[in-house]
Symmetry: C2
Subunit: 514 residues, 2 copies
């Protein structure tokens, strides 16, 4: 009987061995994931600091299935001493805070670089500057077994133009031909939510895909917030106590939790029968457990607010959809802030009709899903959005998603998106999220029904008018002849009134909002 061999592995080694769970299943999927992860880091580096994004992506075919990716942004830049860790150490990053951002795992960009390293023996070249007098270049590898950066080269050069941003370049083994449809779709859908960004992509065939800025308005960036009591557990509270300087529970609660002030803190402590003067650092484990359990169902807390979120807004969402799909009509809506397990979220939705929107293939629907501005292109049928769309009785809104040129857009922004996978493919069905998506879609559907009904009214009015215009003169002529009257009656007045009527109906209907 042999004995078991025990060993410890690094986080880098874990994700290296199991890279398919982060979206690196095969060269096709990897090509898509690599571009996506780096574009998202680039966009986060701009948007969170109210910088209008300029992101340039270039993919070059180097032969033998090896590609070179170069991506440049005008974002905040990575500080000099953080570059090696930010690009070559797994589970290191700036995203571990309670604030809406695309990245959350501190994983994707590094996995892309790691994948490049193991498939093409590539180093990653990073040039960055935070806009100071210097810019710096690094050439890095990842020591996978130890999860540490290896610095192959570094250089600091003057930055007289005060350039600010980051340029990342590396090689990887991929398959652009087969990944292309998803990649182009990814850029297109990304640009829909960012009409304020310039995004350029030059593909290995030399084709330039460009998505030009059409507005200078940006959504306000998300702010970091303290944790809400509904969303914490023992570990979080214990860490907060360790980090806190408060020596009484009243202060501790009022200083460390989102939307908890002194009065709320005192009321809460009264409800769990713990003194406001108790020292958090010497609290009994069972008292701590009582506090944390009670936090989840105490109804005296204010609900989380949405300052940590950065939704697109109706106006930008409509602009983005109009630019890309030129629909005949689009109904957009934004729900108020809601929360699940203490994490605030906002759902935005739109339904677009006509224009470049195709009629969906049989048994399918055209659904565009977004989470924190990331388009989700895989596993539609496992996603909560699809569940809701299937549940809604569309006939009630006189909509037929399978035979009309309709597209559904759903955007959920949250401090913590309930992804089911590290590869960010789809969203779990939390009841609160489901409810918000349902009502957002129903609001849009109602508006769409009114639009289509008006369109019907206008066209039936037009048909009626055509009938009158054709037959009224004939009727007038025949009746005159039959009655033997000398002159035909004046039908102009009747026709004019009908025309005026029709015009009015049409004009009223052209006003979208009702």
């Amino acid at each position: 009987m042999s004995r078991e061999k025990f060993q410890s592995i690094s986080a880098a080694d874990f994700f290296y061995k199991n890279r398919e769970i982060a979206g690196f299943d095969n060269p096709v999927r990897a090509t898509y994931t690599i571009i996506r992860e780096l574009v998202e880091n680039a966009l986060d580096a701009c948007e969170q600091y109210s910088i209008k994004p300029e992101v340039r992506v270039k993919l070059i075919d180097e032969g033998s299935s090896i590609y070179r990716l170069k991506i440049e942004d005008n974002g905040i830049g990575v500080p000099y001493d953080q570059v090696p860790y930010a690009f070559a150490q797994i589970l290191f990053g700036s995203k571990y805070t309670l604030r809406q951002s695309r990245g959350i795992f501190g994983l994707g960009g590094k996995m892309a670089i790691l994948y490049g390293q193991i498939t093409s023996h590539s180093t990653v070249k990073v040039m960055s500057s935070t806009g100071g007098f210097e810019k710096y270049s690094y050439e890095l590898n990842i020591n996978i077994q130890e999860n540490h950066p290896i610095i192959r080269k570094k250089e600091v050069t003057p930055n007289p133009a005060r350039w600010r941003g980051t340029i990342v370049q590396f090689n990887f083994e991929g398959d652009y031909i087969r990944a292309k449809p998803k990649i182009v779709e990814y850029f297109r859908q990304t640009s829909v939510l960012m009409p304020y960004a310039n995004i350029f992509f030059v593909d290995p065939e030399g084709v330039l895909y460009r998505f030009d800025r059409i507005t200078d308005v940006m959504p306000k960036p998300a702010e970091e917030v303290k944790p809400h009591p509904y969303g914490v557990d023992l570990e979080v509270v214990q860490r907060m106590i360790n980090a806190s300087r408060s020596n009484n529970m009243g202060d501790f609660l009022a200083n460390n939790f989102h939307r908890v002030g002194v009065a709320t803190a005192l009321n809460f402590l009264k409800s769990v029968k713990i003194s406001a003067d108790a020292n958090p650092k010497t609290l009994q484990p069972k008292d701590l457990l009582t506090i944390v359990s009670r936090m989840k169902d105490y109804d005296g807390f204010q609900p989380p607010d949405a300052q940590c979120l950065s939704p697109i807004g109706n106006d930008l969402l409509e602009k983005g959809i109009m630019r890309e799909y030129k629909p005949e009509f689009v109904a957009v809506t934004q729900r108020g802030a809601s929360a699940y397990s203490g994490y605030p979220f906002i759902v935005e939705a739109a339904i677009a009709y006509g224009g470049d929107i195709p009629i969906a293939p049989p048994d399918e629907m055209t659904v565009f899903r977004y989470a924190n501005k990331i388009p989700l292109l895989y596993d539609l049928h496992s996603d909560v959005a699809m569940k809701v769309i299937k549940k809604i009785n569309w006939q009630r809104y006189k909509l037929e998603p399978n035979s009309m040129p309709l597209a559904f857009f759903i955007h959920i922004c949250a401090t913590k998106v309930p992804y089911k996978t590290v590869g960010k493919e789809y969203i779990a069905d939390r009841p609160e999220v489901e409810y918000e998506i349902e009502w957002a879609l129903k609001t849009c559907a109602r508006e769409m029904r009114m639009h289509l009904a008006k369109k019907d009214r206008v066209s039936s009015m037009q048909r009626r008018l055509t009938v009158f215009e054709r037959y009224l003169p004939l009727i007038s002529q025949f009746s005159t002849e039959l009655s033997g009257a000398p002159n035909q009656p004046n039908i102009e007045k009747v026709l004019k009134r009908l025309q005026a009527n029709a015009k009015q109906v049409e004009q009223r209907s052209l006003v979208q909002t009702d």
Copy 2:
């Protein structure tokens, strides 16, 4: 403009923050996942060492949604000094080898314990012995921020009975009432593949679910193998070179790869134009890249063999299905070993008919999926098995999965199961795996069609016999009366021949194999 805050987090912290990706979404799901992960560790600790498993699981309701789990196995035991790491350090384990096992991530059991710690402030109590003169008890916590075990207590006691195995106990916040159907189903389906195990589960309501051993035959345990050249990448080869004592490439290849001997190694090296005498440690990066790229498509390697796998076998699979579902008929098959990306795998399948197998609800089918003997109870519709089942034209086999009492069993065993999620919910659709599942099911379907056809023949023969038995005497009587003959003819001989005929058809049909 604020600066970004960078930080590094431990692997434990990462999975703590993102526990939903490991199957800890909510108390219901967590209850299921915790039991499953610990049962699987217990079974692995037995089976891989040819120990017939005796696994006892007890779940006790402690009030306020807190449960206490106690699980005991008779497995190999965890060595004294490894206990703290094996139970309280994420990404530490004995499963990081090329060998079929349930666990692969070194994550599940620890995540269960971590979840207990953060929801109930529980320590985990572990008692273990490898069957020596001592047994040892630990009380542990996980330092999540550092990913280190904290030893609260430890004790070594004499073990005069030479008891061997492991007992794990801890508390967690859960919801057994709502998790119960999946948990009971999990035990039931687990036992189907293990008719050689005793598994007992006492639930919080005091109900005992027991699955008794019905055979002493066990599948041979899986052996560890070296990596196959089709399945390696630069990182793996580099690590092998670092660890190797070979000072020439010929030796290095022949000593370190699965199914590569000296002759194969020399042929391969010739094909990449690298000398067999070259020292692996001083190889140029571009030569290494050439070698690794060529390994994936060189056709001179033997395919991986299946000694590292431990399938159930037709006999045990049939026994297990018979015990649990008592079907009228079951067709089982095992495919030969195949491989994807250098990882060997074997597909086993069965189709069962009648007995306790229900007719599936409308638009559904009864499908039981297993991977390395783990039942997969979630995300059926994303799984490759479902894709194959939908693709097969069942009418060709005169089977109607929606209206007949049919159940499909699919078991894939592999050194690396292509899971799509850390929570091991479903399997990605690798073409090789898809192909094997398809042919396994078609083989079973053909056998099932023959069985049903025979059953038809028997029942139509029986109907015919009934008609003869009823009417032949009457016909004989009428004809005698009509013809005025003095005696009725002897119909006994005719009837006997018909009865003998029917019996023969029936007996031939009862022999299952054909």
